[in-house]
């Protein structure tokens, strides 16, 4: 299907892009190693084969789940990524959760009373939310809450507890205190997004005839807002938030760098700096895979929420 094509295209692009990057030999082998040692290292890392052969080897191994060993850690790249994934995932989902929890009510209020002082404040706040560069907000959060007030720890991940054999930190109190600041940091952009989406949706929906008709039927304002209007705006909001999840996971590189959060993002930054190719490649493939899965999930969710789409598909 189309997703398969995308996957192949991505792998090609990624492979070419990464393998044309710099020269890992310069970095990984000490400059005063003699020629023999260099050649041994090259052969061991498979860098002596022609480029197209390297690609085929790469694809062959990839299909077996082997995306190469990290030059730096000497472990299978995929294993490194998977080890770090829970940390990144809990950060991403935490921030998504926060963004809906905070963004939806605020956006709803701003849409229902667009001319009130509080609404204008909320909208101005939302502009701040997506204007402020995430890394700077992270720094400020650390400065205020960790350094000045000392309420929350500044960096790192807290204690973890096992669930399905995977260590998650949100299951412990210490873990929660560590995840709070980075999650807030990561969610800021999305909170603004949700606020603006909800408000725009509410404003548009309120002008619709069916809202006026609902009022003409004598329904309570509560019902008009929370049933008629709400259901209509949920569709675009959920869709966008779902699609943003992929972007959030990718964007966590910044938050993880600021908070020294041991997730995939931090790994990739370090890997780029030392040109640890297998890790970079493995990371990109994972990201693409996740994107495809997320897009699929959102599509399914959309058909569940919007009856017009659902029934047309049946017919």
């Amino acid at each position: 299907m189309q997703s398969g094509f995308v996957l192949v295209a991505m792998s090609l692009l990624v492979f070419l892009g990464v393998y044309a990057v710099g020269d890992p030999i310069e970095i990984l082998i000490s400059p005063d190693a003699d020629q023999i040692e260099k050649e041994r290292a090259i052969r061991a890392l498979g860098l002596d084969l022609p480029l197209w052969q390297q690609y085929l080897v790469f694809v062959g191994k990839a299909l077996q789940g082997d995306l190469g060993r990290s030059f730096v850690f000497n472990e299978p790249a995929i294993q490194l990524i998977l080890q770090r994934m829970p940390a990144t995932l809990e950060l991403a989902f935490g921030s998504m959760f926060l963004s809906i929890l905070i963004g939806l009510p605020l956006g709803l209020y701003a849409g229902l009373r667009p001319n009130g002082a509080l609404s204008k404040g909320i909208m101005a706040g939302s502009i701040l939310g997506f204007s402020l560069p995430t890394f700077w907000v992270g720094l400020m959060l650390i400065m205020v809450f960790a350094v000045q007030l000392g309420w929350l720890p500044s960096t790192g991940r807290g204690d973890t507890a096992l669930l399905f054999g995977i260590p998650w930190s949100f299951l412990t109190l210490d873990g929660l205190s560590h995840i709070l600041l980075p999650a807030i940091n990561l969610s800021l952009f999305k909170i603004s997004l949700v606020i603006r989406l909800t408000r725009a949706g509410v404003r548009e929906t309120m002008l619709m005839d069916y809202v006026k008709f609902a009022r003409a039927k004598g329904l309570s304002p509560f019902r008009v807002t929370f049933v008629h209007v709400f259901k209509n705006i949920m569709i675009p909001v959920v869709t966008v938030v779902g699609l943003e999840l992929g972007g959030t996971i990718a964007f966590s590189v910044v938050t993880e760098s600021v908070f020294a959060w041991p997730g995939m993002g931090k790994l990739i930054i370090d890997s780029i700096n030392v040109l640890d190719r297998p890790v970079i490649v493995a990371y990109l493939m994972m990201i693409v895979l996740m994107f495809i899965i997320i897009n699929l999930a959102v599509d399914i969710l959309y058909t569940v929420l919007d009856p017009r789409v659902r029934l047309e598909a049946k017919a």
């Binding site: 995308v6 295209a9 892009g17 990464v18 044309a20 990057v21 101005a124 502009i127 701040l128 997506f130 204007s131 402020l132 560069p133 995430t134 890394f135 700077w136 720094l139 400020m140 650390i142 400065m143 350094v147 500044s154 404003r203 548009e204 002008l207 992929g246 972007g247 990718a250 964007f251 590189v253 910044v254 760098s257 990739i268 930054i269 780029i272 700096n273 040109l275 970079i280 990109l284 990201i287 994107f291 897009n295």
Partner: protein
């Protein structure tokens, strides 16, 4: 049998746009602030107390002074100094130059590229359209930060490479916006009329089609400038952006990161404020513009 009422024509579209734009004091404030910032950036070499790139003037003994203290050369460092003894205020002014230059420059180039491709796709239709739109979809579905990181890993650091990376990441927004409005406009009668008059394609595209696609383009362009500035700052912060010799605001902030935990907040804080104010001002403007130009909210 129904006739509609005729509204009196009292104002040109531009005048109405300006008056509706000015209805929001925030947006006007944003505009004013942006103009001030742009002026500061342009005039930096003349108004900055110190040239932070001139190694001869710097004295490491002046390092890490608090805001308001007087340095060895007699200059008052209103915003303190960094670890090399550079005056923060001057650093910020010069940093603004770089940030604005990269942000606005990349946005303009991306706009040119993107708008042209978008127009082409809409006007030519068929396979050209499909190919261009596939590219746009691919570009847009890939998270911007990752794409930028990969491109910079490929090209290496440097201002020019950063601009290229930003352009590659941004062009797709312009292309999609322009194509959208161009598709709508293309079906209108005045384009048919122009085609019937056998005007050359280029003329139709640029003299007739483009001006009517401008409103959404302006909004996207404004927001994109803010995004470009923020993106460049983030990349520089991560160490993959502009070189240390010509620091943008992002790099200044990165420099100060390590001193934050020891309480010397000003090295990161003030460049951050400058960055913040710039981006917020631009976004306030763009926001109001979008509200004013949105046809669906007009009743």
């Amino acid at each position: 049998m129904s006739a509609t009422a005729v509204a009196p024509q009292v104002e040109t579209p531009f005048r109405r746009f300006v008056s509706e734009f000015c209805a929001s004091p925030l947006a006007v404030g944003g505009f004013v602030v942006f103009v001030i910032i742009a002026l500061v950036a342009i005039l930096a070499p003349w108004i900055a107390p110190q040239n932070p790139y001139d190694l001869a003037v710097l004295d490491i003994m002046d390092g890490r002074l608090e805001p308001g203290s007087v340095g060895g050369s007699g200059i008052t460092h209103w915003l303190g100094t960094d670890d090399q003894g550079r005056d923060m205020l001057s650093g910020i002014m010069y940093g603004l130059r770089i940030s604005l230059m990269v942000g606005v420059g990349s946005a303009l180039i991306a706009c040119l590229v993107g708008a042209s491709l978008g127009l082409l796709a809409a006007y030519a239709g068929g396979r050209t359209d499909t190919v261009i739109m596939r590219l746009v979809d691919l570009q847009l579905s890939f998270p911007t930060i990752l794409a930028a990181l990969m491109i910079l890993a490929f090209l290496g650091k440097g201002i020019f490479n950063v601009v290229i990376a930003l352009v590659i990441v941004e062009w797709a927004y312009y292309a999609r916006t322009v194509r959208g409005s161009a598709l709508v406009e293309r079906r209108r009668e005045y384009i048919e009329a122009a085609v019937c008059l056998a005007l050359p394609t280029r003329r139709i595209l640029f003299n007739h089609l483009l001006p009517n696609c401008l409103p959404p383009l302006i909004v996207v362009g404004t927001m994109q400038i803010a995004r470009a500035i923020a993106l460049e700052a983030t990349l520089s912060f991560l160490g993959l952006g502009v070189p240390i010799t010509e620091p943008s605001l992002g790099l200044l902030i990165a420099n100060g990161y390590e001193y934050m935990l020891s309480g010397k907040y000003w090295i990161s804080f003030y460049p951050g404020i400058a960055l913040l104010v710039t981006i917020v001002a631009i976004n306030l403007m763009g926001d109001q513009m979008r509200d004013v130009l949105n046809p669906r909210l007009k009743k």
